[in-house]
């Protein structure tokens, strides 16, 4: 994770994993050794002292979460340096994600964890395509299953696992096979656009096999085990929505819909 703000975010999340509150200052991360590049990087990012940089970084985190209608999982009292837990479950999720990151053998666990968090934020049905694929070993059986989600015959080609359809959120609009799908592809690693582009292409090909809607009627997202900040986005418009762990925090409000008349 290249962004020191979110390195700090995860460091705080880890420290709060088994307590309700804790004072954490720059000294806590210095204590292991005076030479601490993580705090140096943070200081450089905000062009200020390490201590001041922590306050500025937390303010940045708050803005980042607010922009996603996500609840910041802790609050920070700048005067006393005390962090208090707001959302223990989400902090535990972050702790688990740190453990899973970039470990190939647990990508299924990553998908399941993402699915469970996603369920807090969306309405309608969410579906992990990897699950039936594990059960339905034969490609033909899995293709039959996919027809139930609106795909035409033979959506998956031989040797494909899930055709890039890691998680499908079936929008509560229209009726099968005219229900649009949101596909969330899970990348259990740090942000990597090349990886994401490859996954996008694979998923795009599968969406082409939908029975009634063209690819344009669906939406593709790629979710990283990381944080998507403005400074890492490519300048050009993207073909998929980049998402990160902060997009999976508990929503700020239960009914975020706006009705603008």
């Amino acid at each position: 994770m290249p962004n020191p703000t979110f390195t700090l975010f995860e460091a705080i999340a880890v420290e709060l994993s088994d307590t309700d509150s804790r004072v954490l200052t720059d000294r806590d991360w210095e204590r292991a050794d005076e030479n601490n590049p993580f705090l140096d990087e943070l200081g450089r990012q905000y062009s200020t002292s390490r201590e001041q940089a922590i306050s500025l970084a937390v303010a940045d985190m708050q803005r980042h979460f607010d922009a996603r209608n996500s609840m910041m999982p802790f609050v920070y009292d700048q005067d006393s340096g005390r962090f208090c837990v707001v959302d223990k479950t989400y902090l535990a999720f972050i702790g688990a994600m740190i453990g899973l990151r970039s470990t190939g053998v647990v990508s299924k666990e990553f998908e399941i964890a993402v699915l469970q968090r996603l369920a807090l934020r969306v309405t309608g049905a969410i579906h992990r395509v990897g699950f039936p694929r594990n059960r339905l070993r034969k490609i033909a059986a899995c293709n039959i299953h996919l027809t139930g989600l609106g795909f035409g015959n033979g959506a998956l080609r031989s040797r494909q696992k899930d055709g890039g359809l890691d998680i499908i959120w079936i929008l509560p609009l229209g009726a099968f096979p005219y229900k649009p799908l949101v596909v969330v592809q899970c990348k259990n690693g740090e942000l990597n656009w090349k990886d994401a582009d490859t996954s996008y292409a694979s998923c795009h090909r599968t969406l082409h096999k939908h029975a009634a809607l063209t690819q344009d009627a669906h939406l593709q997202c790629v979710l990283f085990n990381d944080y998507v900040t403005h400074d890492v986005l490519p300048g050009d418009a993207m073909q998929y929505v980049p998402l990160g762990l902060s997009d999976l925090a508990s929503p700020l409000s239960a009914a975020p819909q706006q009705v603008i008349i």
């Binding site: 880890v14 088994d18 005067d79 006393s80 688990a96 453990g99 990151r101 970039s102 490519p234």
Partner: protein, 352 residues
């Protein structure tokens, strides 16, 4: 010559006193020029000590967990009316006073444990010699201080303590962050698991820092139990290769530092980026040059920055190396370096 502590009048004594009888000294050197208060403004001093920038707040949890550690008494000098003025331990006193003044926030038992705290009393500081004793004491304690254990010694101590008492107990008692413990204990346990040692001139902290990076962990397929920090599994040959990148290739019983690719801790971040790219890793393994390999993992923005620097320096380098030469090759190099710089500038301008 061994200097002698000069004690005038009484000798230092050990006592237990109520924190209510302890006063802050606004003249204490800790306060410097940033903060001004008088002896009557004890509440302001309390706030200044408890919050930023002194953060006595961070000691609260330790006092609640451990009570007052008897082996580190506060140091005081007598004041009028049976009171004492703090010479050493301002932050600790601020945390204790905070706990005692918030009976609804903290458990009664924890508060009661702090009804009396141990102090060492300096003799009355009314004469010059006694004042001098206090000045020397504070100077030695805060300016000379003590040298921290090296990271490897800390790691050995923590590992033994965790094995004896368990991780969560150690975290609570010592008020260490998990991050600190993990940074120290995981590299030590990895060395043990892979039956490897570091030489005394090989900085343990470089390995510790490298292992905080996702790319490095991915490279050696490191799997850690997040609750105990036990090493579940690791790719040993990759780990040995990582040690070569950090400290140099093994030559008989030692390492050749000329073959290491990381020259300072800051570069471990770049190394981690390189190690997760197959292409960049191959270049690194062959060239042993981190900069060469890093080009392959540049983001577009980093690549543009590199191009800009190169465009600036190419004509200068060409001029320098061909100075005095009128050969067609030298002329060709100068012309093409300028042409390259111009083309790069045009490209970079277009991107803005």
């Amino acid at each position: 010559m061994t200097p002698k502590a000069e004690i005038v009048g009484n000798i230092p004594a050990f006592k237990r006193v109520s924190p209510d009888d302890l006063l802050y000294d606004p003249e204490n050197p800790r306060f410097g020029d940033d903060f001004k208060a008088t002896s009557n403004q004890q509440d302001q001093i309390q706030k200044y000590l408890f919050d930023r920038p002194n953060f006595a707040s961070e000691l609260v949890d330790s006092f609640l967990e451990n009570g007052f550690i008897e082996y580190e008494p506060l140091v005081v000098r007598p004041a009028s009316g049976g009171k004492w003025v703090i010479v050493e331990g301002n932050r600790r006193l601020a945390a204790i006073k905070h706990i005692r003044s918030h009976p609804l926030e903290y458990a009664l038992a924890a508060i009661q444990r702090l009804n009396l705290v141990p102090v060492i009393t300096f003799p009355s500081a009314q004469n010059v010699a006694a004042k001098n004793n206090i000045r020397v004491y504070l100077g030695v304690r805060h300016l000379f201080g003590f040298r921290e254990w090296p990271p490897y010694s800390k790691a050995l101590f923590l590992d033994a303590e965790i094995n004896r008492s368990g991780l969560s107990k150690i975290l609570k008692e010592m008020r260490l962050t998990k991050d600190t413990v993990r940074r120290l204990v995981v590299p030590l346990r990895l060395l043990v698991k892979t039956d490897t040692t570091l030489a005394s001139n090989e900085d343990f902290w470089v390995l510790a820092e490298a292992l905080t990076r996702t790319g490095t962990k991915q490279f050696i397929s490191l799997n850690i139990n997040p609750d105990t920090y036990e090493v579940v599994s690791v790719n040993k040959s990759r780990f040995l290769e990582l040690l070569e990148f950090l400290y140099g290739k093994k030559v008989k019983q030692s390492r050749d530092p000329a073959t290491k690719v990381v020259s300072e801790t800051r570069e471990v971040k770049l190394l981690a980026k390189v190690l997760v790219s197959d292409k960049a890793y191959k270049v690194l393994a062959k060239s042993r040059n981190l900069e060469d390999a890093a080009i392959l993992v540049d983001t577009r923005a980093e690549g543009m920055g590199r191009l800009q620097r190169l465009a600036k320096s190419a004509p200068i380098i060409a001029k320098q190396v061909t100075e005095g030469s009128k050969s067609p090759e030298a002329e060709d190099l100068r012309i093409n370096a300028i042409a390259f710089a111009k083309a790069a500038a045009r490209f970079l301008n277009k991107q803005k």
